[in-house]
Amino acid sequence: MPVRVVESSTPPQVSGTDPGNRSQLPPSSLLGAGQAFSGTQNVSNQQKEEAWRVNVQIQGIDLEHGYLCGTMEALNVPMADTPVITFWEGEIVDGNNYTFYTGKWEATREDDMRHWSKFPSFSPLQGQVESDGGRQLDRNNYPYIFMRWKEQYFVNVGTDCGLTIAGFYYVCFSCSDGSISGFYYDPNSSPFQKLELKTVNEGRSGFSFSSYELQ
């Protein structure tokens, strides 16, 4: 979600990758290409309360490399005439390709822990993550997937639209019901802007799944 910029800077850190075991997370039906989610992002600041409606669509997912991507559409953005769509890329915290430590985007380890600990589903993991970075976690049985989503560019508006996509989201996905919560992090923006999304069924009585196959 594009937000307004506030001046600040922190030195970059080496991103944490753990080359060890190449086992990957098991797939989740609701976190797949074509899945759509809808909800809100709380963009309130000290001056006023504000929330934007948000639609997210997953366009691709590559569990082997801990990668996913999609679009995010923000509606009722005050300074925009139309909904603003961005393309984002995600890092899946699988303990192999990516860890809970961001190591870039001006996020320190303290920032990381501050954000992850805001997710109730992170609490059972916190101790282990703080002690060994989460290497020993049994991800095959934990029904939550943690990610970072970083918007890469605006799809339908120019960069002079007065909005910025400098920050990124800490995201928690619930495998059970496909709900997503997230916190936007940008040292130059209001802290802990919360993203809350649920799966969308397009007027159906149940779940429907589309698919593609890349050659």
Binding site: P26, P27, S28, S29, A33, G34, Q57, Q59, G60, H65, Y67, C69, T71, F87, E89, N140, N141, Y142, P143, Q152, Y153, V155, C175, S176, N201, E202, G203, R204, S205, G206, F207, S208, F209, S210, S211, Y212, E213, L214, Q215
Partner: protein, 670 residues
């Protein structure tokens, strides 16, 4: 016997006189070739030979005039006496020159029936005659048209070894050439190895340049895809010869460097465990990249060699990428517009392999403007080049990021691809379908150049092709085109395809075609709820066909798509859910319900898809959910799910928990 020809008419008198002189001379040469005077004949032979050496145009010109039969006669007429030796040498040399890198020449030499005569020259007492015969035969054996050599016949093997044992480098080189170009099967490889050919060949590694090169070529042929042969070779003198081949990759002659690299590529592809040293792999890649710049045949072969080496190997692709392979190849493509087709094919295939797995490579295509080069190549006259460019595009577009950015959705890219759907070559058709399958997945815009160019109609036609690969590829492209498609786009397909035609696709004899047809159907019935109606056309023919196919006990991949069709239909209205129930529980049943079989499949995706169908059928918000639940319970499906609460797959476990939760809401116990 060739006779004199008249010169073509010409507007200028000087040109007429020049061409007249030319053809007179040629006609004169033919009469002199047939002369009974050996000196005259010899001079004519030398004249022809000197004119055609390295001159393809002259070769063609003399060929058309019938020079080869004339020279073959001169060779045949010469006896083995000393005074005829010069004639034997010159005629063999001329024939060899015709055959050198010129397929029409090889054909003409073989058609002239002179092959056995050339073989007999190898036993001539005069070394020069033997040399000329061997060189000439080597040229023939460079060609695919060379006569088959039956290695399984003992006398042929004896003859071969007599050649390899010869002190004459051209003769031993001939032996190696025969192996290089005629050994084709693992049986032949084994027979050769058992006869000790590896020990004979490696001696040639220490020989002359020509012997070394012949040895390297034949080693690659004997070792290719044969782990036992590779093991034998590596075992020779504790790896000394493997080291020698590796050292030869630094030789001063480009052709030697190339042939040793190709030999190592064969060994690596057959038995990679002999290459634990990273430095060897890097060195091999670096040498092949340097050889890409060689203007001759070595450069052509290096390009194909590089693509073979890195094919399917992410670690080597990464090494090549880090060694700047993409930029090197792009620079060659950009600066040289006259590249041979074989080199072009090799370069595009190398680019294709580079971006087969690495996202960084695919992204660098955009920054290096590779797309324009590929689009130009799509218009090349050679089918192999077009196919290679399509394969490259296919691999480059294997990037959701680039697809999302709309990098390929332009008329400039799409038009030549759509045009290639009509290409007469089936390899081009399959390759372009592969590229289009990916490129039609444009997330950036609802507008599709592909559709605007009439692509859907062409895919519909191709989905009825006699070739199952084409049918499968066309359906895959349609499936991807219909991913998250709106009703307008779906209608463009559905309006041209009736239920009967679609049902045939689902029941295609080839399982991969069935799978893609079902995957396409899955996408067609996703999205807006009204799109489900398609499966009810013609009295529900399509839905009935899906049910019938699922009851046949299909392969997992097909069953997964079929179950997702049912899942998607079951996410609709009451009518839709009931229709799915009719497919799960048809009137006439005798066998075990297929859902039970699928729930016990080893494929977690199939188990998951099956559970999703159940979730949708008993979704609490729908009125008939309770009755459907009762039926599913009676059929043993709900009890089966209770046995699966600890399924090994987390996703399946979670979905089962959802079903059992719904079940509990109907009064059922866990």
């Amino acid at each position: 016997m060739p006779t004199t020809t008249t010169s073509a008419a010409s507007s200028s008198s000087s040109t007429a006189s020049a061409s007249g002189n030319n053809s007179n001379r040629q006609a004169d040469v033919f009469s002199r070739l047939a002369s009974s005077d050996p000196e005259v004949k010899l001079k004519a032979l030398r004249e022809v030979k000197n004119q055609i050496i390295g001159n393809r145009t002259k070769k063609l010109s003399f060929l058309k005039l019938g020079a080869v039969p004339a020279i073959a006669s001169a060779l045949a007429d010469a006896d083995d006496s000393e005074k005829c030796n010069n004639i034997l040498v010159q005629s063999a040399a001329a024939l060899g020159s015709f055959a050198c890198g010129f397929e029409a020449g090889v054909q003409a030499v073989l058609d002239a029936g002179v092959f056995p005569r050339l073989l007999r020259l190898l036993t001539n007492p005069d070394e020069k005659v033997v040399d000329a015969g061997a060189r000439s035969l080597r040229m023939i054996f460079q060609s695919n048209q060379a006569p088959k050599y039956d290695f399984l016949q003992e006398k042929n093997m004896e003859f071969l070894f007599s050649l390899l044992n010869s002190e004459n480098e051209n003769v031993s080189g001939l032996g190696a050439s025969i192996i290089a170009h005629a050994c084709g099967t693992s049986v032949e490889q084994r027979v050769l190895c058992e006869a000790g050919v590896l020990e004979k060949l490696v001696i040639l590694l220490d020989g002359s340049l020509s012997q070394r090169e012949a040895c390297l070529e034949s080693l690659a042929t004997v070792l290719k895809n044969n782990p036992e042969a590779v093991s034998d070779f590596v075992g020779l003198e504790s790896g000394r010869y493997l080291n020698s081949v590796t050292e030869l990759t630094k030789d001063r002659y480009p052709r030697t460097r190339l042939l040793s690299c190709l030999c190592l590529v064969v060994i690596y592809n057959t038995s990679p465990s002999y290459f634990v040293n990273m430095g060897t792999k890097s060195g091999l890649i670096t040498t092949l990249l340097e050889l890409l710049n060689d203007p001759g045949q070595s450069g052509d072969d290096a390009a194909l060699g590089l693509s073979c080496l890195i094919a399917g190997k992410e670690d080597l692709q990464k090494l090549a990428y880090e060694a700047n392979a993409i930029k090197n190849i792009v620079d060659i493509l950009k600066t040289d517009s006259e590249l041979q087709t074989k080199r072009l094919q090799g370069l595009f295939l190398s680019l294709a392999e580079l971006c087969s797995k690495l996202e960084d490579c695919r992204c660098s295509f955009v920054s290096l403007q590779v797309l324009d080069l590929l689009i130009n190549a799509l218009r090349h006259k050679d089918a192999d080049v077009k196919a290679a460019a399509c394969i490259c595009l296919r691999n480059a577009s294997r990037s959701v990021k680039n697809l999302s950015a709309g990098r390929f959705n332009s008329d400039h890219v799409m038009l030549p691809l759509v045009q290639l759907l009509h290409d007469p070559s089936s390899s081009v058709q399959v390759a372009v379908l592969g590229a289009l399958s990916n490129i039609v997945l444009d997330f950036s815009s609802p507008k599709s150049s592909f559709i605007e160019f009439g692509g859907i109609k062409q895919l519909i036609e191709l989905s009825k092709s006699m070739d199952p690969n084409a049918r499968c590829s066309a359906l895959r492209a349609l499936r991807n085109l219909m991913f998250l498609a709106d009703n307008k786009r779906k209608e463009l397909y559905i309006s041209d395809v009736n239920a009967q035609g679609f049902a045939c696709l689902i029941s295609d004899p080839e399982p991969p075609v069935q799978e893609q047809a079902l995957a396409l159907l899955r996408n067609l019935v996703d999205g807006c709820i009204s799109s489900i109606e398609f499966v009810f056309d013609e009295d529900g023919l399509i839905l009935d066909t899906v049910g019938r196919q699922l009851r046949k006990g299909p392969q997992a991949h097909m069953a997964i798509q079929g179950m997702y069709v049912l899942t998607n239909v079951a996410s609709g209205t009451e009518l839709h859910k009931e229709a799915v129930m009719q497919q799960l529980f048809p009137q006439a049943t005798g066998s075990e319900n297929f859902m039970l079989k699928f729930l016990q499949s080893d494929e977690s995706q199939l188990r998951s898809a099956t559970v999703w169908t159940i979730i949708n059928l008993i979704s609490p918000s729908s009125p008939g959910a309770y009755d459907r639940h009762v039926k599913l319970r009676s059929a043993g499906i709900i009890p089966q799910l209770k046995n699966m609460v600890n399924d090994a797959c987390l996703d399946v476990k979670i979905r089962i928990k959802t079903v059992l939760g719904q079940s509990m809401s109907f009064g059922d116990n866990y």
